[in-house]
């Protein structure tokens, strides 16, 4: 299985409807794949919140209407892991089809923060979390507290993660924060939202869409091989996972690396789902980049920067590239393909292989994908 085309919109507060964003990313992915919609056998749509945010469900049929198609179109939802889970699902269909398109889209910016916070909250457990006022930033703040209790202070390192991702995002013209100068002082002095969690430890509210064309056979030398894509699930409520590690992440990563017959040290570039900076930090440990408690040291040494031993979130990650929920997992794939093809411009790193980590909840669903170039 090969990725033959990628397309995306810019991420951020966009003056575009769901429809317009979908059409733009689809068109760009088809152009990149040098193919036509008539060669696409099926489409998989990833979205989380259109039912609540726009009052619009049945996106698969909406897409059929917009694109004037009657092929199978399937919509998948798995909160922030929607993109990864949709990608995972779509690959099974290649036993039947030759070329498919995987599309992710989210429109988030048009709502008040109260409405949006409520809508996003529906992806946590209604009884265990929502009723008790639990919100995801509180989960991130709890993980920070636990991590510090176990391994010592970490807020300086979290600020360095944020800074790295903003620096990378400033080299990515499609990123939400492109062109916005963010320095360490701004990050450290940003408003505390919950516990020690600062505004600049959190990913922004973004709109955006990404499309990926996946083909059974290799098309040309720009095609990138899907070595593996594996998934694991876990409890919906963070209350049921009181540690500083995410079991679903460890399992999905092991499954994906085993299926690819690779070790984490064989990977050249990584996309980590940094919805919160603490998640990037603990995921470095869960992926096996270092032992538990050692990620802060790696951050201080700059090992995950563009010129470091293992670059993480070269596109800016969720933090600076943005987090249009349904599109996020596919944006990670987009970046890995761009890096592996050697088309990442100023943020280019040396990469033949890449790994994407996409999570939903903390962590209720996790997809890990491994890609390899020629």
């Amino acid at each position: 299985m090969y990725i033959s085309g990628i397309g995306r919109t810019k991420f951020g507060k966009l003056d575009m409807t769901l429809h317009e964003m979908m059409v733009e990313s689809v068109q760009k992915a088809l152009d990149d794949s040098k193919t036509d919609l008539k060669n696409i056998d099926a489409i998989f749509v990833s979205n989380n919140l259109s039912g609540l945010n726009q009052g619009q469900l049945h996106l698969n049929s909406l897409l059929a209407t917009i694109l004037k198609l009657d092929i199978p179109i399937i919509r998948v939802e798995s909160t922030c892991a929607s993109g990864g889970v949709t990608f995972y699902n779509s690959l099974f269909s290649l036993s039947k089809f030759d070329n498919i398109l995987v599309l992710g889209v989210e429109k988030m910016s048009a709502l008040s923060s109260k409405e949006l916070s409520t809508n996003i909250g529906t992806t946590s457990d209604k009884k265990l979390d929502q009723k008790q006022g639990f919100i995801f930033p509180a989960g991130a703040a709890m993980i920070i507290e636990r991590y510090e209790k176990k391994f010592g202070n970490v807020m300086d390192e979290l600020a360095l993660i944020s800074l790295k991702n903003h620096n990378n995002g400033n080299l990515n013209k499609n990123a939400h924060f492109f062109g916005k100068e963010v320095n360490l002082e701004k990050i450290k002095n940003s408003k505390k939202l919950v516990g020690k969690l600062r505004l600049y430890d959190c990913s922004p509210v973004s709109d955006g869409s990404v499309s990926i064309v996946v083909s059974k056979n290799k098309k040309d030398k720009r095609s990138v091989k899907i070595k593996s894509c594996e998934m694991s699930t876990g409890p919906i409520s963070l209350s049921l996972n009181p540690g500083t590690s995410m079991p679903a992440v460890k399992k999905a990563a092991k499954r994906a690396l085993d299926a690819a017959d690779m070790k984490i040290t064989d990977i050249d570039v990584i996309e980590i789902h940094d919805g919160y900076t603490i998640v990037e930090l603990i995921t470095m440990e869960d992926l096996g980049l270092c032992k538990p408690g050692k990620a802060p040291g790696m951050i201080r040494k700059g090992k995950t920067k563009l010129k470091g031993a293992i670059p993480v979130n070269t596109d800016g990650g969720l933090k600076a590239n943005g987090h249009p929920i349904g599109a996020t997992g596919l944006a990670q794939i987009y970046e890995l393909v761009t890096q592996i093809r050697g088309e990442a411009g100023k943020r280019q790193v040396k990469a033949k292989t890449g790994l994407a980590h996409n999570i939903g909840g903390m962590v209720g669903s996790c997809v890990v994908t491994v890609l390899e170039g020629n």
Partner: protein, 85 residues
Amino acid sequence: MPYVCPGCKKTWMHELKKCIRCNKELKETKPKKLKVMHCIKVIIPSLKHPDVPYYVSQLKDEHGNLYFKKSEEALKPGEILDENN
């Protein structure tokens, strides 16, 4: 609140009638003591929780079951909440 299977002793935090593994009827248990593990101050309002700040604590009962609890006042980590009082 936790529901325990008398057969396999597995615990659920959701109200279910029967154990999916043993088909035995689940029994609801009432925790006696809840230990405060963390307490986090929330200042982000949502439609269902418009009044901020409030606090969300992670609690653990004597059987190791875990819960979140909302409160208006901060709870002290390490504190034991006696559910009999």
